[in-house]
Symmetry: C2
DNA sequence: AAATGATGTTAATCTAGTTTAACTTTTACT
DNA sequence: AGTAAAAGTTAAACTAGATTAACATCATTT
């Protein structure tokens, strides 16, 4: 299993230095799991049991509104996280679904394990603080963009910021992430081609 | 100074238990400061030096876009935080301004002090992790509302969630926070009165 | 009390983005 | 290869919300 979660260890080492012993403790408590395209990792209404680190593949987190419309909140690819954090930290039913868009390899941190780990390896508290700080900043910037940019500019920003993601994901999901209809995104793309 | 920052100590005690000694260390490193209505706590372009805990009063965090339009990202009242976290954690120029809407009392955590505190009182790492987890969850829920609710429903949600804030803040700022014009908010309120 | 500036309202016109619906292209399955 | 399903396009009619502009109210200062 060691080599499979190596990307996670590399990722952690960017934030904190762990001893070999700590790494061993960590590895002994984590779950490595493969999912197929289309498979659900977590479901709206269930308590979110895991924080998930993506080793490979791609996931979307979304919810269905009263009319059954799907709204995508985030995508996650290699070296990023996914989970309904609200449900995870309060251990109450989730607002969101997490589903694989590609075959995906994950490392799962269960709620109980992560609490144990905070005690056994106090540095992980710092690690997760920093990760969440970054996620919070990104989230707030997204709010700002959603209010101050037009749909076209939000799309251009997305394309520029996540060129790798755009290739891998159907357009209608990108539209959902941007908060517009797939028809309007199609129109925007057509317009951009005309403008060259 | 002790009694002035008591609300902060009470707030912290909801998340972690600090010894009297730790409390004394903490207090010795914090800055208590009063601001007048209209005064700026932080400015777009400057590096954000402090994380601020609000003892009393009210602040807004906002940015001015290219056309000079003001967009309000968040309000903060008693027992909440304010700062451009992105600027604070990276110590790079801020995207946002923070300004007092009322006379305001703050407790300031400077960047250097907070790093020292994480080392001297490791429990604070946990405390801030939990605070930021909550802030991140709230931020993500706001994204969801901005995409899935109409302006009217966002206003109703705001009014319901923050009844105390609504009383204290001019309507045009609430419109800015909701991502709509003051004229349209006025129309929504008129409509709500007719519907009763 | 008058005057200034900040805040809030109303209404007409305009536009970014939605809805509906028909059609085309691509992908995946037998 | 042939077919069905999924994904993407186009265009017309519509709507939520913006813009502009004129006016009303309220608070603060002189």
């Amino acid at each position: 299993m060691e080599h499979k979660i190596q990307p996670l260890l590399n990722y952690i080492s960017k934030y904190i230095v762990l001893s070999k012993k700590d790494e061993a403790v960590l590895m002994s408590k984590l779950i490595y799991r493969k999912y197929l395209k289309g498979q659900y990792i977590a479901q709206q209404g269930d308590v979110c049991k895991y924080e998930c680190f993506v080793i490979s593949g791609c996931t979307k987190m979304f919810f269905a509104d009263e009319e059954g419309q799907e709204h995508i909140v985030m995508f996650s690819i290699e070296d990023w996280w996914t989970a309904d954090m609200g449900s995870f930290i309060t251990q109450t039913p989730a607002d969101y679904n997490v589903q694989c868009i590609e075959n995906t390899e994950l490392v799962l941190f269960s709620y109980d394990v992560i609490e144990e780990l905070y005690t056994e390896i106090p540095q992980l508290e710092r690690f997760f603080r920093k990760i969440i700080e970054k996620a919070f900043v990104a989230s707030q910037k997204r709010i700002v963009r959603s209010f101050s940019l037009s749909a076209k500019d939000r799309y251009l920003y997305f394309r520029n910021q996540y060129p790798k993601i755009e290739q891998r994901i159907p357009q209608y999901m990108i539209a959902s992430y941007l908060g517009i209809t797939k028809e309007f995104l199609s129109k925007i793309k057509g317009q951009l081609i005309i403008d060259q």
